[in-house]
């Protein structure tokens, strides 16, 4: 089993422009990847002790050039999207005595049954975005665990069909 990590860090979460990070698996033309596990962390940085509301989101898409906004839920219905992770933060600094602590990290991981991995035939993308009152420096860190194998023409055709 191999693994590959992609890290996309964004500093601007107020103008809400999606950022695309591409996973390059170095697949040969007749190779496919069987993804068996995905480990995702969203780590939000600090903006101090000030009011802020933030929504952070990412998705993985079989389209390496995907750039639809992960915060627009309708976009996640695309068949090429195969993993999503969202996280929200709210800070109300004036009630500091009652809001004493907050976590700024969210983790999501999935492991697929060994016999039913997710098949990928090309590079794919991690698309991230944030929407907040004040900019939050945020890192989206995703590791995929996969095996590579030679694919038949039928395998490749099936994968491409899934990509419409």
């Amino acid at each position: 089993m191999e693994w590959k990590t992609d890290v996309v860090a964004i500093t601007d979460t107020t103008s809400a422009t999606p950022v695309n990070g591409e996973f390059d698996l170095d697949l040969l033309p007749d190779e496919i990847a069987e993804i068996v596990g995905i480990h995702s962390q969203i780590d939000a940085g600090d903006v101090g002790k000030i009011d802020n509301v933030g929504q952070l989101g990412m998705y993985l898409s079989m389209d390496p050039d995907a750039d639809d906004d992960p915060l627009v839920m309708g976009k996640l219905e695309d068949l090429e999207v195969f993993f999503t992770h969202h996280f929200s933060i709210g800070v109300n600094a004036v009630t500091a005595a009652s809001v004493m602590w907050q976590s700024r990290t969210s983790t999501r991981d999935i492991w697929l049954p060994d016999k039913h991995p997710l098949l990928i035939g090309t590079n794919f993308s991690q698309v991230v975005n944030g929407a907040s009152t004040v900019d939050i420096l945020t890192a989206f860190m995703t590791t995929i665990y996969f095996r590579r194998r030679r694919a038949s023409q039928a395998d490749l055709a099936n994968i491409l069909l899934k990509r419409r």
Binding site: V91, A97, T107, W111
Partner: protein, 179 residues
């Protein structure tokens, strides 16, 4: 016969901001053995009971790099900022915790994570725990427990596993480390 699960834990502390460390789990592996990593738990927390208004970030990662080939410092320097270095091929699992204490009456809590690896990650050598206390001047602790099984592998598989860690110079065979 089902393989026997074993566990090994490490607790590492950092008392200063920007302090880094790398520690081997020191699991004994025979010359033909590989480790199948099946579960990992991370706990990242402050060991300082007095809360201070501050922002904390701690990071931990598991590395398959060979401590004898790479110095502790070079592996530890692999995590931190910029975080794109987490994409190093030897870093195969990471955890991080960011938290802000908003009020001095608050309590610094921790971040806990369990990762179930099924199918397991096969490693030709014992992993290392890399730890980085980025923001906090408070003492930060990571405790990490790995659950694993061992099995015999043929030489081809071991060589293939070694080659997989592209940036790592392969050792001839996995070495035996004393407990």
């Amino acid at each position: 016969m089902k393989p026997m699960w074993m566990r090994k834990g490490l607790v590492v502390a950092a008392s200063a901001a920007n302090e880094r460390s790398t520690t081997s789990f020191k699991v004994s592996l025979g010359p033909q053995e590989v480790m199948e990593l099946r579960r990992v738990t991370f706990s990242l927390y402050s060991s300082d009971p007095s809360p201070t208004v501050a922002f904390h970030r701690t990071m931990a990662a598991l590395s398959s790099a060979d401590l004898e080939v790479e110095t502790n410092l070079s592996i530890a320097a692999a995590i931190g900022t910029p975080r794109a270095v987490f994409a190093r091929p030897d870093l195969f699992l990471f955890s991080q915790a960011s938290m802000r204490v908003l009020d001095a009456t608050g309590v610094v809590k921790g971040f806990y994570e369990t990762v179930y690896l099924d199918p397991p990650i096969v490693l030709p050598r014992t992993p290392s725990l890399v730890f980085y206390n980025q923001n906090s001047a408070d003492a930060q602790v990571v405790d990490c427990v790995i659950y694993y099984t061992k099995r015999i592998a043929n030489r081809d598989e071991i060589i293939k596993l070694m080659k997989q860690y592209k940036s790592i110079k392969p050792a001839s065979v996995p070495r035996v480390i004393d407990e």
